[in-house]
Symmetry: none
Subunit: 123 residues, 4 copies
């Protein structure tokens, strides 16, 4: 693992950035059900974070059912994530961004056509 990038000085809390990064890896398939996440200590050292911060992220991911702690073994991506739920996760993440973007455009009286042109420039 794991190619995670954390911005220590941004407005977004570190633990939230970490949650988001892991969520993205699960949604994109980079992490599959059953895969072991790095240990809390390992990841904390690797990212120069406080272990408490990493733990907080893992807790939240567990609360959302995306990962599962196996006592004494480590933290793993939930086995009961099937393709359909992962797809749903993917869509939730993307649709939220699309909603925000479209709402913004509407408020600023920016036409749909202009949005699509900008997307074409980027993708």
């Amino acid at each position: 693992m794991m190619l995670v990038t954390i911005n220590q000085h941004g407005k977004i809390p570190i633990f939230r950035q970490l949650i988001q990064e892991i969520k993205m890896k699960i949604a994109s398939g980079e992490l599959s059900p059953g895969d072991k996440l790095p240990s809390i200590r390992e990841l904390a050292v690797y990212l120069s974070l406080n272990p408490n911060t990493v733990m907080k992220s893992y807790r939240e991911l567990e609360r959302e059912g995306l990962v599962k702690t196996k006592m004494g073994k480590g933290v793993f991506v939930s086995e009961n994530l099937n393709e359909s739920t992962i797809n749903q996760l993917k869509k939730n993440i993307l649709f939220q961004k699309i909603d925000e973007m479209v709402n913004t455009a509407k408020m600023l009286n920016i036409k749909k056509q202009e949005i699509i042109e900008e997307i074409n420039k980027r993708y």
Copy 2:
């Protein structure tokens, strides 16, 4: 004024929500250069916020050059915002959302066509 909506219990600080709302009003042309913003006290009462919270928002907007405080008179949209800078502001706001969204889609291996379909459903 002013039709501002504030979510008291979201993750985003109230003063940042207020900044964003006012920025949008300037970008959309609802507030024009030279226009007077509501007085700190007035807006605080209207939104059921503490005057300090409103002031914090106004200060940040001033720091960004969007408004200008005239002591004893009030806070005004900067006179030196011309049409071009306002257009730039508009684009900055939108492009940031588009960038986020496109990056997310790329990471999740979601095709451009799918994004555009979703936009069509919403706009």
Copy 3:
């Protein structure tokens, strides 16, 4: 009169800037004992200030004995300012700046010689 420059957006209150400007004109001899100052309304229009602000400045100058209001006639530089008191005023103004500057230099461990070199560059 009067070549007064006021910075509407600085940290220093307008009325204080005006006091300082007039004080300087008296100390430098540009305004002599007996000279009439511009009327409050006149100066307020000229500098785009609120008459109350100008009045406040004149009041303070009067409190310090530098000007004298003659009811119905206007505001005048005090007749009883002799050369010696004006000289004293001059020194007070300058010495305060010198004190500040020297104290700063001392705290920053900057040598006297360096100060003098900088003064030579400027004067």
Copy 4:
């Protein structure tokens, strides 16, 4: 820390005095890059100020790039202040005072020689 002196009743706002004091400590080398500033609460108690007032000072120093906040850890003198930038800071602080003083002297028709004599009396 820290030998800071605050004048509760002067014309200069407390938070600005504090900014100035800390800036001087950085410029003089009393505080070095990486050094931890006192915690907001700690300094507030020590100076009998409200935590908000101390925070306001720290924020401004951060805005100017002199200090850096590490959430949950404290506020630190910026690591990226090298000797050259600190020297620049030093000069900026002093030169501003010198400029003011020289300009005043010029306006009052006071000769350079007289200024230097006064400096000799003081330093």
